[in-house]
């Protein structure tokens, strides 16, 4: 069943007379419970797609539909990890992660009276990303990678139906990153949310996604859509199998054409 549907969507940023065509004629759809990855050269409009799907930006032309309804403003029930962590410096890590609970129904109604329960839930999530000791610290007391991991927790805490991740592991070392792929996959296998992952790491894309979309350089178009037919659960060992490596190479070749 189609959950997210884009038809001929383009977007032009405008600042006075200056215009930038960031995204041209994007057409693709994501099934409910599917996990997709979007890869492409820097500045090709990946973050723009994320904002269009969640309704933070109105499309210049074309149509975006989520759960069958046309997107006209910010949609509900989405968890989004932005490219830069955007944590609030006046809140502790714990309070930052609990923010969605204060805003999203039905948690909003129950939040005050069940705070302890929610904090325990947040603590569990912090543990899985290795930040349990930093719950009471402020974001500016964390390293860049730690901020990114908190950012990820904030996107996950309210168990959204649609999860949008914009380079969520970009500032992490290789080991932590690969560990979090496992965490992410386990979460997805358990909850089966619909996921969109933007990344520059092709191995990450192949590891996590059911389908990988490759975009051209600006103005971004989708030039390749590749189904990843590797059975789950995938593990680090999987990433060394010939089929996995072949897929990564195929994607790399397609992207390198964009740089030519």
């Amino acid at each position: 069943m189609t959950f997210v549907d884009l038809k001929g969507v383009s977007l032009t940023y405008r600042l006075g007379k200056e215009t930038t065509l960031a995204l041209a004629d994007a057409t693709f759809s994501i099934n409910k419970g599917e996990f997709i990855a979007v890869v492409g050269p820097s500045g090709c409009g990946k973050s723009t797609i994320m904002k269009l799907v969640t309704g933070l930006l109105p499309a210049s032309s074309g149509e975006v539909r989520v759960a069958g309804e046309k997107v006209t403003g910010p949609i509900k029930g989405v968890g989004m990890a932005f490219q830069n962590p955007t944590l609030m410096p006046w809140r502790t890590t714990m309070d930052n992660i609990l923010l969605p609970m204060e805003v999203v129904e039905p948690h909003k109604r129950r939040f005050r009276s069940n705070r302890a329960e929610y904090e325990a839930q947040a603590m569990k999530l912090l543990q899985t990303v290795g930040l349990a000791d930093f719950a009471r610290r402020y974001p500016w007391q964390l390293s860049g990678g730690m901020q990114q991991r908190s950012n990820l927790c904030r996107a996950l805490i309210h168990e959204p139906e649609l999860l949008m991740l914009d380079e969520p592991f970009g500032a992490l070392d290789a080991f932590t990153r690969e560990e979090l792929w496992g965490v992410m996959q386990a979460l997805w296998l358990e909850k089966r949310f619909t996921g969109v992952l933007v990344t520059h790491d092709l191995r990450e894309a192949v590891y996590l996604a059911d389908t990988v979309y490759v975009m051209s350089k600006r103005p971004g178009r989708i030039v390749l859509s590749r189904k990843i037919d590797i059975p789950r659960p995938r593990s680090l060992a999987t990433t060394f199998e010939p089929h996995f490596v072949d897929l990564v190479h195929e994607l790399r070749d397609r992207i390198s054409q964009e740089h030519a």
Binding site: L56, P74, V78, M80, R154
Partner: protein, 258 residues
């Protein structure tokens, strides 16, 4: 020099600087034989300060409470108007030019008008303190709101937050450091406001005391009043700075222990 002594010196510096200034002043008065009616010696001012301490305190108290009430009103009004201006482009474009025009009016010119409306006494002083300290608060709060990172707002928008939720969860916390920074400026202005009002047309407060003392050619008392205002100003400024540090620790990003 050890760290401890550096620290001690840093704390002592303002007192040392004040002492040096007073000593130069004292010596200059003696060396050039300046008549007391023009510039009294600090030692003389100090003697008067002590001798007339009770009277000074009574008048100071009057100035202090009119200033503080005007200041508190300015915080309340400035916060509300600042939030309205910062949150809505329509309120902004409508009221901002008016505010700037109003701020350009010298507040001394308002006192006679106030006296026609509300008579002589504490009320014109409160109102003058209010109008003069109102502006920096409004401007700062509005700036704090207007310069919120769009990404921060997007985080809440993507969660489906209402406009009110965005204001209370991002807008107000984000505007707080700007508010507290403006308070230090505003409290000083509030003192200027109430003293101006007392001087131009009051029957109470330290401004009135100075005016009547100077009418009697009593320069030492006039200067003692001046010192009293300066001391009150510094104290209130210190209180505001302390509250600022307490309330917006995050904006200072803590301190490095080293």
């Amino acid at each position: 020099m050890s760290d401890l002594r550096r620290e001690a010196l840093k704390i002592a510096m303002p007192w040392l600087a004040t002492a040096v200034l007073l000593i130069i002043w004292e010596l200059a008065c003696i060396a050039f034989d300046i008549p007391e009616i023009i510039l009294p010696k600090p030692s003389k001012i100090f003697t008067v300060f002590v001798a007339r301490f009770d009277i000074l305190m009574a008048y100071c108290w009057d100035t202090l409470w009119t200033t503080v009430i005007g200041f508190l009103l300015a915080i309340a009004g400035g916060l509300l108007l600042g939030l309205a201006i910062g949150a809505s482009p329509f309120v902004y474009s409508g009221l901002y030019p008016l505010l700037i025009a109003f701020n350009a009016i010298p507040k001394v010119a308002l006192v006679p008008i106030l006296m026609i409306w509300v008579g002589v006494g504490s009320l014109p002083a409160v109102i003058t303190a209010f109008v003069i300290s109102f502006f920096p608060i409004v401007v700062n709060v509005a700036t704090g709101l207007a310069t919120i990172e769009p990404e921060m707002r997007d985080v809440l928008r993507s969660l489906g937050a209402t406009r009110t939720e965005i204001l209370t969860k991002v807008g107000i916390p984000r505007a707080m450091p700007y508010l507290f920074a403006s308070l230090k400026v505003a409290i000083t202005l509030a003192f200027i406001g109430s003293v101006i009002s007392e001087t131009v047309g009051g029957n109470n407060g330290i401004g009135f005391l100075m005016l009547s003392a100077s009418a009697r050619n009593d320069a030492p008392t006039t200067f003692a009043g001046l010192f009293a205002i300066a001391i009150m100003g510094v104290l209130m400024y210190a209180i505001c700075a302390l509250v600022e540090k307490r309330m917006t620790r995050w904006a200072f990003r803590g301190e490095i222990v080293g």
